[in-house]
């Protein structure tokens, strides 16, 4: 997957590229809008990770340019401004998603996967784990044919864990993913523990939940 990272903070751009390369993305990194504009005109990208706060360019213009060039790239806006108006404007111009700094790399990755699923009809939409079956599109969990009654929050939590299988997710990463829409995050480490506890209890009524592992000092992971 070809990815162009447009981020004026060089170190941050490298950290992002570093992470994505490990996830087998092909990454190019530029630090100015000018360079980005040239590359967008010449190359075809699958992903465009775009920081709005560029020193030489209005980030929104790059979206417009990319669309004009007929780029098929999925565009994810990244900004430290955290302004709702920016988000709306970016999405209106054709961006696919929006991330506020500071974000978790795993969140970036999962957003990219989500956009890819939507946009390129990739990835399987049904995931099997420990006898359970998750239908991502229908937002249901089944066990041997019958629906497992989980709440919306529990489903989001489970989906995030399952989609990042074998990867430890910290409580903060889980919290941010699930409560991403609240204005202020009054994070409480207890929140995730309570939801995981309830989720385990609920799933245990149907089948074994040994695939949902507590990682000491970190958080949780789904192993299957």
């Amino acid at each position: 997957m070809n990815t162009l990272i447009v981020e004026d903070n060089k170190e941050l751009a490298l950290e992002m590229a570093d992470y994505l390369r490990k996830e087998r993305f092909v990454c190019e990194v530029v630090h100015t809008g000018g360079e980005a504009s040239e590359l967008i005109a010449v190359n075809q990208y699958d992903f465009l990770l775009l920081d709005l706060g560029l020193p030489d360019y209005d980030g929104f213009d790059l979206i417009t340019e990319a669309k004009k060039e007929g780029s098929e790239a999925a565009i994810i806006i990244i900004t430290a401004r955290g302004d709702v108006a920016d988000k709306v404007k970016g999405l209106d111009l054709g961006a696919d998603d929006y991330l506020s700094k500071p974000f978790a790399l795993v969140e970036l990755l999962s957003r990219m996967h989500a956009v890819a699923r939507r946009k390129f009809k990739m990835d399987t939409n049904v995931i099997l784990f420990g006898g359970f079956e998750m239908d991502v599109n229908a937002r249901v969990v089944r066990f041997s044919g019958g629906d497992v009654d989980v709440t919306r929050k529990q489903f989001d939590l489970l989906q995030y864990l399952v989609m990042n299988r074998n990867r430890s997710l910290s409580r903060i990463q889980l919290y941010e993913h699930i409560w991403r829409n609240t204005l202020d995050d009054q994070y409480d480490s207890n929140f995730i523990d309570v939801h995981i506890k309830n989720l385990r209890k609920k799933m245990a009524e149907y089948g074994p939940v040994d695939w949902l592992v507590t990682v000491r000092g970190v958080g949780y992971k789904a192993v299957f």
């Binding site: 903070n9 941050l12 992470y19 700094k101 500071p102 929050k153 609240t182 202020d184």
Partner: protein, 437 residues
């Protein structure tokens, strides 16, 4: 009481007091003046009579049936003069008020008594002037005076009210301007037209002060927002770098824990920066108020969100709304944040087995929501500070930033929602939110 009415009242009271004194003193004073003038007239008359007697002798006076008595009145009996031969041991020369009956009529006279020796004989000369004629004029004058004074009183009060009203009009406008200013930024800087220097100065000084306050507030907000932005990128970098450390294979478990602790600290820093950014954005009105919100539904959502935590903590949340509560022109996300923070705060401070009561009601156009917990309560000395940023109970070790209630307060202010807090240590805390529809 308004300044204008106070001025008019003070003036009125002063005038009434002064007039009262004047009316109380004038009878006595005018009587004095009258007597003095009457006495002077009587003495003049006496001199005339003495001149006549010394010129003509007593014989021309003492004629008629009585040889030793003479009396003469004018037609209206206002004055009389009498000469009489008497036996006196001493000389008489005094003036007194005595009643005299003349033709079955008793009249008060001011009478000059003067003894004089003529040809070895003692005579008493009496010259009298009736007082009734004087008192009638005096009464008329007094009536006129009272009427005039009353008229003066009414006219002067009306004049004063109109004049001070006009005079204080610019002052009134300045007051209205201040009262309609909820935020220094909304102060109307256009000068109030007035020729009174004091008001010009007041108006100018207020405008300048408001401008200063506004500028410094704006600066503070800009600084907060800039700092926040500048902080978010390095936080982002640190975070991703730490996350990348964890991605590698064969990472030592102790290292994983340490790095995760650092990430938690970093997250706290992020929350803090974002909260400050949020408050500063609310205070500089960067949010729109375009939603019409059903408050009971909104709080229901908040409670739904917090219910798993409440169940886990063994705290019961009870909701009771007597009527539909709504808020026109609101920002739904901000209001959600407000009630979320308050209910979450109550939850954190309520021990197992406790209760949180959420009660909403509407009386005519006045809505209110009460959120009461059965928690440990807030000591009275901390109560005034609970909405201050970073102030939290000394013993509160909940990992919170102490900024949740500050956010709640700024959201409430942004919506002109009045917030009151009542607390009794050991019994619980009650937050009351009220607003007018």
């Amino acid at each position: 009481m308004r300044l204008q009415h106070k001025l008019a009242l003070a003036n009125l009271l002063f005038k009434i007091a002064f007039m009262g004194l004047f009316l109380a003193v004038t009878p006595w004073l005018s009587e004095r003046v009258n007597l003095y003038q009457t006495d002077n007239v009587l003495i003049e008359k006496r001199e005339e009579v003495i001149d006549l007697i010394s010129e003509l002798g007593v014989e021309p006076f003492l004629v008629g049936e009585s040889q030793d008595f003479f009396a003469s009145y004018n037609i209206l009996k206002e004055e009389f003069i009498s000469l009489e031969q008497v036996d006196l041991d001493e000389d008489w020369n005094f003036i007194e008020v005595t009643p005299r009956s003349i033709d079955d009529e008793v009249i008060e006279y001011r009478v000059l008594n003067y003894s004089l020796l003529i040809d070895g004989e003692m005579y008493l000369l009496e010259i009298g002037k009736s007082l009734s004629s004087i008192s009638v004029t005096e009464q008329n004058i007094r009536r006129l005076t009272i009427a005039f004074l009353l008229l003066f009183l009414i006219v002067s009060v009306v004049f004063e009210l109109i004049y001070t009203g006009a005079l204080l009009e610019p002052f009134k406008r300045i007051i209205i301007k201040i009262r309609s200013t909820a935020e220094p930024s909304s102060y109307d800087p256009s000068p109030v037209l007035t020729s009174t220097r004091d008001f010009q100065m007041l108006d100018r000084t207020l405008s300048q002060l408001m401008k200063k306050i506004n500028t410094s507030l704006q600066k503070e907000r800009e600084i907060t927002q800039n700092i926040s932005h500048e902080l978010l990128t390095p936080i982002s970098l640190l975070r991703n770098r730490l996350e990348n450390i964890l991605v590698g294979d064969h990472v030592d478990e102790e290292l994983v824990i340490k790095v995760n602790e650092s990430l938690t600290t970093l997250h706290r820093l992020k929350t803090l920066v974002n909260s400050l950014l949020l408050i500063s954005r609310i205070e500089s009105s960067q949010y729109l108020r375009t939603d019409s919100v059903q408050i009971h539904e909104l709080i229901n959502e908040v409670v739904d969100e917090l219910l798993p935590m409440a169940d886990d903590a063994g705290v019961v949340i009870i909701q009771d709304y007597s009527r539909d509560l709504y808020f026109e022109k609101a920002n739904r996300s901000l209001l959600f944040s407000l009630f979320y923070n308050v209910v979450n705060n109550a939850l954190k401070h309520t021990p197992r087995g406790g209760e949180i009561w959420i009660f909403g009601d509407r009386k005519k156009r006045q809505c209110f929501v009460e959120i009461t917990d059965s928690g440990e309560g807030i000591p009275p000395d901390l109560l005034p500070d609970i909405f201050m940023r970073f102030k939290k109970r000394n013993d509160a070790d909940d990992g919170g930033s102490g900024i949740g209630l500050a956010i709640a307060k700024s959201v409430a202010d942004f919506h002109h929602i009045k917030v009151e807090v009542f607390s009794e240590p050991g019994k619980g805390t009650r937050f009351v939110f009220s607003w007018k529809l």
